[in-house]
């Protein structure tokens, strides 16, 4: 049996579930972001132990799904971002706790201005060997 990993069994699975939204989906932080984009990155705290016993590693994984759109005009960009957020929320798979959506902020990545909002999600991961 192949050992599980957060990369293969959580972030990639989540990225696959998000593939239907209108944007580029990354299960990691890419070197260059092409908007509109959805980026899955670790949140803080990242891993939390909540269950009793330690015979196997089971932990809550906190992730941030960053929704990014091009920041060209303020009302248009905000509308695009809201639509992207709603489409993401609709396809987050079962077994995920969805937290809050943080306030949109303008972030410069390279020469591009992006309007970005973070969606906080968490799920429980079990390590199998």
């Amino acid at each position: 049996m192949t050992a599980s990993s957060i990369q293969d069994n959580v972030r990639s699975v989540l990225a696959t579930a998000l593939a239907s939204v209108a944007g580029n989906v990354y299960n990691h932080v890419p070197e260059a972001i092409i908007p509109p984009a959805v980026v899955i990155i670790p949140d803080s705290p990242y891993l939390e132990m909540q269950l009793i016993n330690k015979s196997s590693i089971k932990c809550t994984i906190n992730l941030t799904i960053s929704a990014c759109v091009a920041y060209n005009s303020n009302p248009g960009s905000l509308d695009n971002l809201e639509k992207l957020i709603l489409s993401i929320l609709a396809v987050i798979p079962a077994g995920y706790e969805i937290g809050v959506v943080e306030r949109p902020t303008v972030t410069q990545v390279g020469a591009t201005n992006l309007l970005v909002a973070d969606i906080r999600v968490s799920t429980i991961y079990t390590q199998t060997n």
């Binding site: 269950l51 016993n53 015979s55």
Partner: protein, 137 residues
């Protein structure tokens, strides 16, 4: 003596031979003793007359999550409470230090709940039969 720390990760819990480690977030085995108080001429006097133990388990709900031989803990407890409510189930609470608390509890129906943002979490409060046995290995 070196300081000993026992955390929840050092515990193992089984009820009716089913392991609860994968779902339980906390477990408490607590006694509520009955003390009769007498007001004597010399002051208060106490008499311990009874013990009432409770096993409380907080766990993530796993309704409908039976896979092969691994039965959903919620479903198993529901079935036990529904079909044989007066048949006590064996439990054991084991610490990594070698202490084992064992006894029997009566099954209870798990509650069903759900909130918009959080994981479905339930609390099972079991009536323990008599006083649990403590075994130190």
């Amino acid at each position: 003596m070196a300081t000993t720390v026992i955390t929840g990760r050092d515990l193992a819990l089984t009820i009716d031979s089913k392991t609860y480690d994968a779902q339980a977030t906390s477990v408490t085995l607590v006694n509520a003793p009955t003390l009769v108080t007498y007001q004597t001429i010399d002051g208060k006097a106490y008499k311990h007359t009874d013990d009432n133990w409770t096993l409380t388990v907080t766990m993530l709900a796993d309704w409908g999550a039976s896979v092969g031989a691994a039965t959903s803990l919620c479903e198993a407890m529901w079935t036990a409470a529904n079909s044989a409510p007066n048949t006590a189930l064996a439990f054991s609470l084991t610490a990594a230090t070698g202490a084992v608390f064992s006894g029997t509890v009566y099954p209870v129906f798990p509650d069903v709940n759900g909130t918009g943002a959080d994981a479905q979490s339930i609390t099972l409060s079991f009536q323990v039969v008599n006083t649990p046995t403590l075994t130190i290995s």
